[in-house]
Amino acid sequence: MGRYTIPMLTRRTLIASALAAPAAAQVDLGFADNGLRPTTRGFPQKGEMILQRSTPPLLETPLSVFDEADFTPNDRFYVRWHYPFPLEVDPARHRLRITGHVTKPRTLSLDALARLPRVEIAAVNQCAGNGRGLFAPRMAGAQWGNGAMGNALWEGVRLKDVLALAGIKPGAVAVRASGLDAPVVDSAPDYAKSLPIDHALSDDVLIAWGMNGQPLPLLNGFPLRLVVPGWYSTYWVKMLDQIEVLDRPDDGFWMAKAYLQPANSLADVDPASPAGQRVPVTTMRPRALVTNIASGARLPARPVTPVQGVALGGDHGVAMVELSADGGTSWVPAQLGPDHGRYAFRRFRGALALPPGKHSILARATNANGVTQPLRQNWNPSGYNRAGVEAVAVEIA
């Protein structure tokens, strides 16, 4: 909303008209079927977003936003809620309870958290179902394009320092986090996710209140959220108010029944075969996405066509991004932009010599652990962990 300064109108009038007005525009997410979505400026602390669902909100970031900066602006950062959540939060009264298998259960204010060593880390937050609408065959679920992700600088304290205040007892196996969101129906399972104890005690897992130098937007988890770099966003619990140390594996719905993928690193099965054994979705895979050319675009003929985009390495840094216009027979390296750490977006820029006609541009990422995106798209029944190379169709006039 801040971009619009029309002196004749009060801000309240502007907000009211934004709510009442029909959708500003429509985008085509490029699905085989039913890929048109309205955009909206009607959500608080958000600019123009792709409206997937208003209640509970699912708002997608247009890919073009990633073309503009290494860090995704808070007001364009995607939003994903399973359940309703409070629309009013007073951080002075917010408390984080540390319970379970600890020697000294604690109830901590934000001021108490702030007395711990403060840290910050740049990291990509990506929904496990990012790109679900692009799978073939399709499956039910939130029908995201590739904009259910973003990169931010997260600021707060280490989870392990907070846990140390409560004293973890010997025999702890997991740490479960949950937030202020709650289901409409009492019998529905409260949203809670667990990390293995060793992971919870690692240096990189934070309890954050800051996002790109500002408080978290309410829709992104104000006043506190878990930050689990390299792992899918399902673990980045928003409006965090409870941490429970477990002395047994978490058998709750959201760990034992939901967010499960086939038990192989690509989460890949043949659509015609049974999914077999399933395990929780955890680490992200390397991905590269072209952000300066929308699939289906017509571009003028030039000696070389610039191709730029954004890559993530998953749980390791981005080592390389390559481009191909011949179906992956030959690849040319792209130049990598600034390195903000192993978990952050790494932008890339390269060029392809494309003669007039139709082309398919491929961009693939390789991470520092030597994992490269496969050319063939992986598939699983829930549409998680999309990891294959994306093709961008372009016609050179």
Binding site: S54, T55, P56, P91, R118, V185, P215
Partner: protein, 98 residues
């Protein structure tokens, strides 16, 4: 390792936690599901929209009657949706009338 050292160096400049209350309002939901080819959406509207707005349904790809039946079962058994079994047929009729 260099990243960790850089983080430690930056630790002192990270911002303080927020202190001021935050209150927002959300826009209206999408409204009711429309009739499709003469098939009433009443059963879907009455049973589905308490937990999520209409776009959750209208954004889905073309699913079979069996797939939609599985979705209704999941909403009922997992999320406790009080969907009247007597309404299943009318809901499914509308879902596949696309």
């Amino acid at each position: 390792m260099r990243v960790l050292l850089a983080m430690a160096a930056l630790a002192l400049v990270a911002a303080a936690p927020p202190a001021r209350p935050l209150a927002v309002t959300l826009p209206d939901a999408e409204g009711l599901l429309p009739e499709r080819y003469g098939v009433s959406a009443d059963a879907a509207n009455n049973n589905c929209l308490a937990c999520h707005s209409a776009a959750m349904i209208t954004a889905q790809p073309r699913l079979t009657r069996v797939q939609w039946g599985e979705t209704i079962a999941k909403m009922r058994t997992v999320y406790g949706a009080p969907i009247d079994p007597a309404d299943d047929k009318a809901i499914l009729d509308w879902l596949v009338a696309d």
